[in-house]
């Protein structure tokens, strides 16, 4: 009897707690998602409906076509997206190509100056682009590369974060496999390409999401080095919707939605790998 009672209570407790925590989590999730929902909703609305006191998701006078048409077709939006893609992909590729071997060397090889290198990588993590932008800008002007894809990508060609992340990850890669490979006759480069990289797919995709998101969203650097319309990125094109006195709200939120969407989709696609990658990188230490 006693036990049954106890079980009953436990069961009940457990249930209530679970329900409460689910409620809390859903409430939190709603808060996290609300800005997106609001944005999408607003992108369907005429300006005067956006601040209606009785907010509804669906507008009373939908203006979906007009809002999106002006964003997508009245300007070279396809070009802007293409520019963003080119920049993000170029950056990502170079980052991977430069950081993976370096991370491997730091994690699995011994060489003099290793600690200094790792130290400067840690320091690099703390240096924001704001600090180094002027010297880099001057350098780019010197070589006459302003307003090129190269200029748009260059400061991000090395990611110290990637090196750090991959180093942590590679540390967990078994030494014995690398040694087996050495005995089998792999060169170090081949070890990296054929063994380490395939095993690091989750970490690489985790990093790719970070990198892609960061550079897709970057505004600071494109504002400095992009001068022509031809090189304008999607995020940069968001600038066209407001000046001091005029904000094209309809266009702005439609554009915001269109600019945000690719990242969200990219994340959803890479989600599994991404979460696993984070879990496996031993960021935990």
């Amino acid at each position: 009897m006693n036990h049954n009672l106890q079980k009953y209570w436990r069961f009940k407790n457990f249930d209530i707690m679970t329900v409460i925590s689910y409620l809390l989590l859903f409430a939190g999730a709603w808060l996290m998602m609300f800005p997106f929902i609001w944005m999408i909703s607003s992108s369907f609305k005429p300006t005067h409906e956006m601040f209606d006191q009785n907010w509804t998701f669906w507008p009373k006078e939908p203006q979906i076509f007009e809002n999106y048409y002006s964003v997508l077709f009245e300007q070279d939006f396809a070009l802007f997206v293409l520019n963003s893609l080119i920049v993000c992909i170029l950056i990502l590729i170079v980052q991977l190509v430069t950081s993976i071997p370096c991370a491997y060397a730091l994690a699995k090889l011994k060489f003099k100056g290793q600690n200094i290198l790792f130290g400067s990588i840690i320091m690099g993590l703390t240096i924001p682009i704001n600090v180094t932008s002027i010297p880099i800008y001057l350098g780019i002007v010197q070589i006459n590369m302003l307003d090129t894809y190269f200029a748009m990508c260059f400061p991000f060609f090395i990611s110290v974060f990637a090196i750090f992340l991959f180093r942590q990850f590679f540390k967990t890669f078994p030494d014995s496999i690398i040694e087996a490979a050495r005995i089998d006759g792999f060169t170090e480069i081949e070890i990296v390409i054929r063994l380490v990289v395939p095993s690091a797919i989750p970490a690489i995709s985790a990093f790719s999401v970070f990198s892609f998101v960061a550079h897709w969203n970057d505004l600071y650097w494109p504002l400095i080095v992009v001068t022509s319309m031809d090189k304008t990125t999607a995020t940069l094109s968001m600038m066209q919707y407001s000046d001091g006195f005029y904000t094209d709200n309809q266009g702005a939120f439609a554009a915001a939605t269109v600019v945000t969407l690719p990242m969200v989709i990219a994340f959803l696609c890479a989600r599994r790998l991404f979460i696993r990658g984070i879990t496996m990188t031993g960021i935990k230490g």
């Binding site: 005067h48 304008t232 940069l236 001091g244 005029y246």
Partner: protein, 401 residues
Amino acid sequence: KVKITCLADGSRLTRQHQPLMKMFNEMQSEIEVEYMSPAKNYGDVHLKMMRASATNTLPDCAFQAYNQLPSLARALAARGQIVNFQDLFAREAQGWVDDNYTPEILENGVVDGKQYGMPFNASVYQWYYNNDLIKKVGGREADFHTWEGVMELAKKLKGAGITPFAGWLVDGDDWGWQMLILSQGGRLLDKNAGDKVTFNENDYGINALKMVKRWVDEAGYDPDADYRQQSTAFTEGNMGFFATSPAGAKSIQEKVGGKFDLKSTTFAVWNDKDGLLPTGGNAGVITTKDPKKIDAAWEYIKFVTGPKGQEFAAKITGYLPTNKRALLPEYLGDYYKKNPYFATPGNQFERAGPWVGYKGTQSEKIWREQRTVIRSVMLGETPIKEGAAKLQKIAEDLMQK
């Protein structure tokens, strides 16, 4: 074909410049105009120009806010990177300048006696008001034309539990502050050399500060609300009246939709005789050294500051046209008659005075520090006299550089 590249900011690019560029490019076949990627705002235009100047990567022309024009023009002039329009005026037919531009308007583009900028957009303060609310408390349009009238109106609204008014002042650039000085007939800097701070002459500064303190104390002005908030409050119908540039006319109208009876009217000045209002907006500058490009850019700037260009710009934004001829019936004259809401800028065409910047590069910094003082005066934290003195000291300290 000569190709020239220009720089403009934000939605000014999309709404005004790009259509104008298209018109111009279609109009003739010798010149092709294109625009650079947009700057974020006026400040960013300035920054981009300065950076480009230092690295010799300037565009061929640009549209720069009046208050930052001096600092830009001086830096560029020192490097020989900017064109004096007076040289170009000489090529035009006799009287052409006077036919098109008033001296007051042109003065906005003058730095150190040289015409470095051609005013493109211009705006002076105007009132927007919610006629429904004004009527409710028994106000009239005439109330807006004197400060005492404005204060009375504000008190009435406050009494009725309505947020009385707001206006461009401490949030944003020093346009509002210069308005307070100019509308008394004062000047920020001495007219000739521009190297002496004069806003405290004749107690202009003290009066200005007294006024803004009254706004807060008597008229319920909220120094904490930023521009965007003020504007939404007004457009949502929660505020009696609102002071800002005509540039916002279109935007405000769109936001209001049909929620209330929206009207605009000319601004209040203290001194009806000498009182001016600073002109906001921007001027075109030519920053190429290539004579062919200079010619091309001049053609383009003539077009955009011409009657046609100004008609277009004014209609799509509400800005005050910078070209006299634009007020002719075939351009804006009839339109203004039909749309009194948009006509206000034309009605205070003569009040358009200069919006100046301090010598050196620190105008921005001077204003940022001054507005802290103004705000603290408004909140009663700093006595008015002390505040006025502080304002002058800040300007004098930083201006030297």
